[in-house]
Symmetry: C2
Subunit: 502 residues, 2 copies
């Protein structure tokens, strides 16, 4: 395959992917006003062409001092270390965002992810939500089909559903998306849907996926990438959880992660799709939302120059640069810390999520018969639910076995019940909410496949199976224990001791 | 007319304007995940349903201290007064933005603009660029016609041109848009363009318009509003310059504005369209970009509840809330200052732009024959250019009389020259850039009327007339003087003494 051959070359550049742009994106022209900006840099130029820019001497802000925690202390006992002073640069810029922050992100991406293509570029955005919005509006026509994971992030599809787009779910195993199923869907596309345009965009969260918590290893990525080369697919790697990776092993609820050096931590991370991307067909969405704070609303695209240029045209007329405060504050912190300081911060940070994952993953087993751990879901007995311990991120994806409940069996036998799995899910959810514990129903993560596929049966979903997602990021250990206790009580009541193992 | 009658009632509420929503906006559903948020507020609820939210204890930021200038000191000699301390709230929120900031904006709007409708709502956005993007995507279908000023803001139309939309320019006089021309365009629409959907959205910058610098008074607004009621038009009042209003009188270049109380300043402002909006058909875009700093990327919609709800659905999947830093910093400043403190800041601020306007407006007259001031452009002699002194904002819109130039007359006589006005404009602009002074060419502000109307002639533009825009916001007095001097030298050279008055 071309991509594989290409990998032996020193440093490829991206291939021409212009045919992926939609009509709307192709029709964008640079604002003539922005063209004037380049003349403004001439020595001695007097510009009377400023575009509604107030004079900086007329801002009420003089300077900002942000107190931060040190990157190298244990996060559970943080002490305020020093002050980051940043002068206030609160002007708009040209839409590209602060050049020093773009340079930092370029260097960071090169150091950490080692992209195959030499010509990747950085463009700032207001976080991955904004980033995904701009990607869809650059690449998709109304009615396009979009390749997604078997369970996918609802806000990502809430964007394109009103555009009339349709999701094409690809089956998953413990590594996430299956390259064989991807190949099979694409190979049989013309036959299965004659005359319908084949999808050309794949969206996935390959680390600590939301909702499944799955993380895809390097081999799997390479296989997925090769299929995407074969069928000319653009990959959107939405990767907010990439730095929250930790080992699978769950040893008790309290043991902290073994200390590692920043380099050992980096070496332990699964590679980004960028590493395999010899053609420039990966758009990576990176963000500071999970690693600094979501309120920064600050992230960036890593993409080929054609795409960053089109995305910049969109940025100029849609959002302009991210907040000047967010940029200035992030940049002063990152330049104080340096790349390896930030890496150490990330390594400490994921240690905290490791602990939280353990607290939550260990808890259900305290309640007899509630759950068995399973690497492949091929359990001998039938628990109420099982899950694959996540190796990254913030979520446990609990697989429920509904047939253990007589209530579910009644629903299933009732011919007037259109979607027993959905009805039972709603009932369990409502019981839990009444008992003051909130989970997220698995059906929220079903890819949207059009109005004809809104029931479990019409989607060919698994019979008698349901999912709930448990987030361990935002609660304390005590709240987690209380929550799981309430959940266990509700499940005992709902399943009324009729489960095989109760 | 219904609207006029309605005004006599105590406090009307907005009428049903659902039919203005485009198919895309109507198809938006609330994200089911966001629905869970309301359950999170229950007493004692343990939420394991958090949507990828990191734990706030894991952010590196502890607190922020922003040094600000006082609102009540002369801006030309600012002193840092006190510190605004703000605790760092950098979480996303639900897309609506910080409630206290929305409450502040609601109270501010009520106090300052006295909206006719009682049910207006506030929704935060990332500044007016983001706001306008979301309005167009809520109301316009591809190919729609949009009512705009005779000269309009290029970035606003750069958004909708790739959507295949077309601008319909409405003639202007010294007050901006003419209600008679608006009425005439709409009344004759079906006849002029049989079968083409009538425009239902009007976009304008009614104070210190970009580029014309014109400000529309209350009577004119009322007339425009009544036409919009008659023809069922939604008005987007893009009003970034609304607080930079000042008297027309230009007395020398140095005299400061007479001191006024904050209340006198408020009373001197032209009313917002909201004051006449008895039906809820005005969407006002307000921003802190010109009054605090553009880098805040922070503004807000004032609109009826139907529109704010649809705009919130877009916000959830496109941008989420504005930067938490921007919100927290703006809110702490505004709550320290109070509404009338902010009003005093605004009053002082516009005094600075008043000075700058005077500096620039007085300068050309130092160069003999370059310009005469004219309220109505009906001058007896022909100057090189004339302008209406702006009463707000940041721009002088200079009207050039090209026939004074032999070079232009040659172009005009040349039958192979498709657009003499455009060619001559480019030549003048290039000469100025060479002489190290940048102006913005007037053609940048021509409304886009489709590919067939890209020349002065095809648009039925004025023969022998051109415009350049001069911005006085971002340069010092010395730079302004230098810039005008260079400009005068270029014009003398280009027009070679052949103008009537030279």
């Amino acid at each position: 395959m071309a991509a594989i051959k290409n990998r032996s070359l020193a440093q490829p550049v991206s291939v021409d992917l212009r045919h992926h742009l939609n009509a709307h994106s192709k029709a964008r022209h640079p604002s003539p006003l922005k063209d004037i900006i380049k003349f403004m840099g001439y020595d001695g130029m007097v510009s009377l062409a400023g575009e509604g820019l107030p004079h900086p001497s007329l801002f009420p802000f003089q300077s900002a001092t942000i107190q931060t925690y040190p990157y190298d202390k244990n996060l559970s006992t943080p002490e305020v270390e020093k002050l980051v002073e940043c002068s206030v640069d609160t002007s708009i810029g040209s839409g590209t965002g602060d050049q020093s922050l773009r340079d930092w992100a370029h260097e960071f991406t090169k150091t950490v992810f080692k992209p195959a293509c030499s010509d990747f570029e950085i463009l700032l955005n207001c976080g991955n939500t904004d980033g995904w919005n701009k990607i869809v509006r650059m690449l998709c026509e109304p009615g396009d089909f979009i390749l997604v994971e078997q369970y996918t992030y609802p806000s990502a599809q809430a964007l394109w559903i009103p555009m009339g787009c349709i999701g094409v779910p690809i089956k998953s195993d413990t590594q996430g998306m299956s390259p064989e199923d991807l190949e099979s869907v694409l190979a049989s596309w013309e036959e299965a849907r004659p005359g319908v345009k084949r999808p050309h965009l794949l969206y996935l969260v390959p680390v600590g996926s939301n909702p499944t918590g799955l993380t895809m290893d390097g081999d799997r990525r390479e296989k997925i990438y090769d299929v995407c080369v074969k069928y000319d697919i653009i990959i959107c790697e939405d990767d907010p959880y990439s730095f929250l990776q930790f080992p699978a092993c769950i040893h008790g609820g309290e043991a902290a992660l073994n200390p590692t050096t920043p380099q050992e931590y980096l070496d332990s991370l699964v590679p980004s799709f960028l590493k395999y991307d010899t053609q420039g067909r990966v758009i990576r969405l990176d963000t500071f939302s999970k690693t600094l704070a979501p309120g920064n609303r600050l992230g960036y695209f890593v993409a080929n120059p054609l795409f960053t240029e089109r995305l910049l045209r969109a940025t100029e007329v849609e959002t302009q640069s991210p907040s000047g405060w967010s940029q200035a504050i992030a940049m002063s912190l990152l330049s104080k810390w340096g790349i390896m300081g930030y890496v150490e911060w990330l390594s400490n940070l994921r240690g905290q999520y490791f602990l939280r994952r353990n607290w939550m993953a260990c808890n259900p087993s305290k309640h007899a018969g509630l759950v068995v751990f399973s690497k492949d879901d091929a359990t001998l007995t039938t628990p109420l639910f099982s899950f694959i311990p996540p190796m990254a991120g913030m979520f446990i994806w609990a697989r429920f076995y509904y047939f253990g409940s007589s209530r579910f069996r009644v629903l299933k036998a009732d011919e007037t019940c259109v979607d027993p799995e959905a009805v039972f899910e709603t009932e369990i959810w409502a019981e839990m909410a009444k008992a003051l514990v909130l989970l997220t129903p698995g059906s929220y993560y079903e890819p949207w496949q059009g109005k004809k596929k809104t029931t479990t049966k019409s989607r060919c979903g698994e019979t008698g199976i349901g999912y709930f997602r448990l987030a361990y990021s935002l609660v304390t250990k005590e709240e987690m224990e209380l929550g799981i206790e309430r959940m266990a009580a509700v499940l005992e009541k709902v399943f009324k001791g009729e489960s095989n193992v109760l």
